[in-house]
Symmetry: D3
Subunit: 294 residues, 6 copies
Amino acid sequence: MFFHRQELQHKATPDKPDAVYARKLQEVLGGQYGEITVAMQYGFQSWNAHIPGKYRDLLFGIGAEEFGHVEMLATMIAQLLEKAPIGITEDAVQNDPTVAAVIGGTDLQHAIVAGAGARPVDSMGNPWSAGYITASGNLLADFTANANAEMQGRLQVARLYHMTDDSGVRDLLSFLLARDTMHQNQWMAAAAELREEGYEDFPVPSNFPIRKEERDVSYDYINFSNGEHASEGRWASGPTPDGKGEFSYRDASTETPVPMPPPTRPDSRLYGTTDLPNRVEKIAGAVQDALHKE
Amino acid sequence: MFFHRQELQHKATPDKPDAVYARKLQEVLGGQYGEITVAMQYGFQSWNAHIPGKYRDLLFGIGAEEFGHVEMLATMIAQLLEKAPIGITEDAVQNDPTVAAVIGGTDLQHAIVAGAGARPVDSMGNPWSAGYITASGNLLADFTANANAEMQGRLQVARLYHMTDDSGVRDLLSFLLARDTMHQNQWMAAAAELREEGYEDFPVPSNFPIRKEERDVSYDYINFSNGEHASEGRWASGPTPDGKGEFSYRDASTETPVPMPPPTRPDSRLYGTTDLPNRVEKIAGAVQDALHKE
Amino acid sequence: MFFHRQELQHKATPDKPDAVYARKLQEVLGGQYGEITVAMQYGFQSWNAHIPGKYRDLLFGIGAEEFGHVEMLATMIAQLLEKAPIGITEDAVQNDPTVAAVIGGTDLQHAIVAGAGARPVDSMGNPWSAGYITASGNLLADFTANANAEMQGRLQVARLYHMTDDSGVRDLLSFLLARDTMHQNQWMAAAAELREEGYEDFPVPSNFPIRKEERDVSYDYINFSNGEHASEGRWASGPTPDGKGEFSYRDASTETPVPMPPPTRPDSRLYGTTDLPNRVEKIAGAVQDALHKE
Amino acid sequence: MFFHRQELQHKATPDKPDAVYARKLQEVLGGQYGEITVAMQYGFQSWNAHIPGKYRDLLFGIGAEEFGHVEMLATMIAQLLEKAPIGITEDAVQNDPTVAAVIGGTDLQHAIVAGAGARPVDSMGNPWSAGYITASGNLLADFTANANAEMQGRLQVARLYHMTDDSGVRDLLSFLLARDTMHQNQWMAAAAELREEGYEDFPVPSNFPIRKEERDVSYDYINFSNGEHASEGRWASGPTPDGKGEFSYRDASTETPVPMPPPTRPDSRLYGTTDLPNRVEKIAGAVQDALHKE
Amino acid sequence: MFFHRQELQHKATPDKPDAVYARKLQEVLGGQYGEITVAMQYGFQSWNAHIPGKYRDLLFGIGAEEFGHVEMLATMIAQLLEKAPIGITEDAVQNDPTVAAVIGGTDLQHAIVAGAGARPVDSMGNPWSAGYITASGNLLADFTANANAEMQGRLQVARLYHMTDDSGVRDLLSFLLARDTMHQNQWMAAAAELREEGYEDFPVPSNFPIRKEERDVSYDYINFSNGEHASEGRWASGPTPDGKGEFSYRDASTETPVPMPPPTRPDSRLYGTTDLPNRVEKIAGAVQDALHKE
Amino acid sequence: MFFHRQELQHKATPDKPDAVYARKLQEVLGGQYGEITVAMQYGFQSWNAHIPGKYRDLLFGIGAEEFGHVEMLATMIAQLLEKAPIGITEDAVQNDPTVAAVIGGTDLQHAIVAGAGARPVDSMGNPWSAGYITASGNLLADFTANANAEMQGRLQVARLYHMTDDSGVRDLLSFLLARDTMHQNQWMAAAAELREEGYEDFPVPSNFPIRKEERDVSYDYINFSNGEHASEGRWASGPTPDGKGEFSYRDASTETPVPMPPPTRPDSRLYGTTDLPNRVEKIAGAVQDALHKE
């Protein structure tokens, strides 16, 4: 259950409106790695969790915070849009390129659809899609997904920080940066704890019967490109991070590939292009046509 | 540049056709974490890379292998569909529920659209979307995304392994499991190397001027749920994984929130619902209407 | 700000698992009119609201409840999936069509992607899209959208009620039906209050200067089909619901249409198909080619 | 059956081209509430209707008009694009920011993809999706959806009216505004008639056996936010619009919630993270691995 | 302008309901190459046409017919769904696998969302997207797109023909097959006429100044795969279909490729991973942090 | 299997960065007819092919080249973005409209999401979708789809050619134009060869038993619009391109349509709006409610 309070975790008011920047800020609200994504991702991970206790508590605790971040960003964007210009045309451009340039950079649906309100979209106007989120039931995989989401998110906020000098906006961004720092750290810590406590290990999923994997190629870097430095990293020799093998390196050209299987010949009533039989059948069909004429 | 050879890295032939399983296998071909995703993801990361040498070589080398995995799965699926049943109706069900049940579990577009061929979709028929991939230009973030993709991918292959007992299919899956093991290890190794060599560190992006982040809340777990075990993990106390702080824990109810900013009042020509002024304007408009009547 | 409590508003536990029904229930979780839609819709409407006070309070109050409904349904679905069958193939069908039929009716990503967890998708597997929600800033329009959403939602829950006889599931559905009854009533009441208090009226937006609308056709039913009963409803004669006109009816064949404007002739460098000038230019280009030969 | 006449219901010619405005106008052609949406929505509602006569005639009659509106807008947009500029680069910007500003505001696919033609997209370039339409078979719900669609549509046209001063464009918009006024009125009148004639009533669907709904909470406003004015509207006390109850109000904090059900424990072959049993199995697996070594 | 008549071009009534087949038929209503696609495609091509007269008349004439086909299929699907089963669960499966198998094969939204009505989706439930259509303004390209659409459409209808033995359904399909035969022929004839009349020619667009194309490689088959028969077709030697060259063949391994350009080094405030400078900057930043401590 | 070489087929370096043009170029990388589309389309067609030999070799050979084109465009775009401006706000616009105008024309995700890297999207920011590709198993249909794709692609490249005067960019485009010329020719040649060798013919699919098609209307142009020139093309009289009939022409108004089937009456538990029976049931339900009161 969620309870809402009409307050914000942090101040979210710009010094002044800026419709151009409002559009940019949409990325971290409704983009692939925006706040809607992490809120929903942690939500589904908690609802699908298979163990009670601290890991699920963690998911619930951060997830609910993120819903509040969605709200802070939406509130900020609405204020940035408060003086959003309307009414510009090519003619206006002739008279005032400055105004026109502003328009060129805005999200047109901010004005036409939302009446100067925030939208559940990214900076290019794509609606948020649940196809962005990850909740597999395997916590080590999912905590890695979460760490990545917080990294990508913090990276985008950092970039956005340099795209404005509005101190109100920067104040909010500096807060979000800090929270992303925290959450990156938390998911990494949680992943480490999962491994230490024996719940899961690398390679994920670690309790798949390893004898059913083709172990011959489990630690071989088979290089399919001609990069001459490819073998110089620690991913090409030495012990593997999962602690179960030694990396080796070879060029793909030394592989022993297998021939492609022959093409398939499905049911002729699917009318794919096949060779002889198909043509015979066609002739047969024509004959039948000539005979039956029904 | 890509060169194609009409051979496969590993045998990809089922013992016998199985249209129901063909649909399931689509998930790891065209799903969120299927082979198209990783092939395209590593491709865009390599094309957008900012440093020459081993990291980019690594991306190119694995990326090209993954395009070959796309091909192996597509080839396998086409063979699983070779005897795909067509022509089933409710009537047929009355006579043979077995056949009908098979149909119920197939991807109908396998027959109707592709004529018993593989499709660039997931197991529920959603077309693959480039919205799945990640290529940010920041390699530590992206290698974490890659590690996650390989974990989710291996997890799905492991689940699919138990959904068939066809030895040909299992043979291919055991190969893919091994390659996912390798790639998980490689991305973790590469992420570690990036940090060791000083290219990047946690929190990502590590060279954002840290004084611009609101450091007061960079290591606080502010719990917005009432899970009583939330503070028991290593994400709530002790040193943080980025090596720069100490976790602390507190309940969100102890926060000092700020009031919401007042609602915005955008241009009245956007016809949002506002209070008094709006109504005055409406009356004025009505008067004007009465006067002008043009 | 949202605070989470690890409790549910109502019991959400099935009598027994039922993976087939779990898929059906996804519709009211992640479909066009599912709980994610209303939660997000009321959220964005409240964040974009232009007046403080009771209307915004109403949006916040119901919106937060809906996030809790998302959680109840996700929890229910996870339990329905607890015994989700895995491992079925065409062969299995030969031996046990019953099991196969079950598989045919499940959401395959429930098993392969979510490991027997709920998904943010509808009953056909389409991921939830923010393109479903409405938040225009005009409250009379939006409350009508909300009333519609609650009607469509209650209709779907009613249909789902008859698709199971699990008393645990029905218990939850009977609760959701009641809440939808309430919310339908609330949005209708709120729309009425907006009109009474003079904030807005029909036609929306009511403060657009009416003299700028082509009033000649504001109340004419111009029928473009040949339905002989079309004029028998109260939409074809008598006073209009907005209280500002009288309906009239006429057949579209009596219209005085205007001719289509002539086709456009854009810049020839866009290589659209145009008539003569284009061909002349082509000849000129060929001549130039012959001459320059660079 | 549809018959086409090469005429328009109303003049649709701008005074002069304006590629920037052409993009804006796409919203009411191919957006969530554009003309394609209403044309297709009324079409599917009529084809799925369960009663012959005036209601279906109404759907057919308006639906066919909307297809003509799609055509008027597409024609208008093509003319607005007739002089669409091509060929602009950053260099051009240095010389003529005016021209550049124009480009910034255009839909780039208008030139690159359509060669100065209209596109089936919204103002941000999202392709029209059938996920926008509603056709449930329940006419009271659907007529409410239609009323909402006409409100949102008229609101957007009104906003667009102020974004141009081209008298040709405004002439068309004033016509569309009038038709939206009419259609808003018609769907409200039709909804009222449905109720009067006893076909359907609130809450939709009205013939769901009401004893199966949990009537205890059918008229309670349970407020999950802390808005102090929430109870001041007519949605919190007094008779309900469906005529079947009395609104009551209470704060959600007074609810008696139920505990969350325990986490699920699905089949271990899905490799979700579970507690002890999982770890035991892992050890067993390792032992087996050591023994079999096949 | 479109006028609707409540009649159908051809009978569209099944012998009996068949909810399983209804889902399959959705493919040619709302799929990539379904009737909605061709209706909208021809519509946009006509509205964007740059020459008046017979070509545009052709587009209008066929386009309007296709809207009628949308209607026929929607009507047919609604009838196929008339007895759609509801209420099935895993328990029911135990008692009657036949019924369960039927359910497994249906579009669940037919019942839950549309109340036994047609939907604007394909056979796997993906909503129709305007991203399917093509309207470039170049008629030779577009007529080729149209010919392809009619081929893919007729192919799908032919496949569907064999998936039912309902004589009513087959009667409609035999009609649609004939119309697709006609339309395939018409678009090919129209493409030929465009070329004969000198409007356009191959390669499209034919009036692009050919000296600006790198003619050295305009007719070379550079084979990037190792298929040994690749050069045996008429695409590898002899005159080219555009009448302007001679095909030649060579293996890609004989190409003289160019080196990749060096990696880019964008603005450091985008926090991409770069080499030395980046690390220097990081140190500088740390120093600055230490000094300023603000 | 794919092997990668770190070289390009052709030089892909601009004279200087141009972030505005980078966005435009995305269309032919990630748009409906961009290089990702053709690469994936030819890939799936080859994997689904039913005959070994030259046709499949052709698909493999061109497909692999197209993956290399994806790489060339991505590399070019990254370089065009190398100096992408960041940091612009409305204030900046006041001072320098030139810079602002540039921003207005950029893909914002290039900076925020990709850190000045290429993206798998079109020029309006829509992510590439596998819904764009075609692979039916019928080679004559698919080669026609391929010819269309190359036409649309070359048309877009030709348009883009005029939108820049950067000689490096134009050099690459002139190369791509030549390759599109080649591929257009190849697919037309391949389609012709398929027909000559008797694999397939018009109408596609040619081996569908023609007696099952309603031959009465296979060659009739039934005109549903009132274009007076519609019958003047070779699509309205004379022999048909498939060599099997004679075109005839007639106006749709002379058709003998059939009446619409009566509306459907599905299961009342779907709560659609029906006439009398429904109301009777409602009364019955109310009575039952009154009696049972459970």
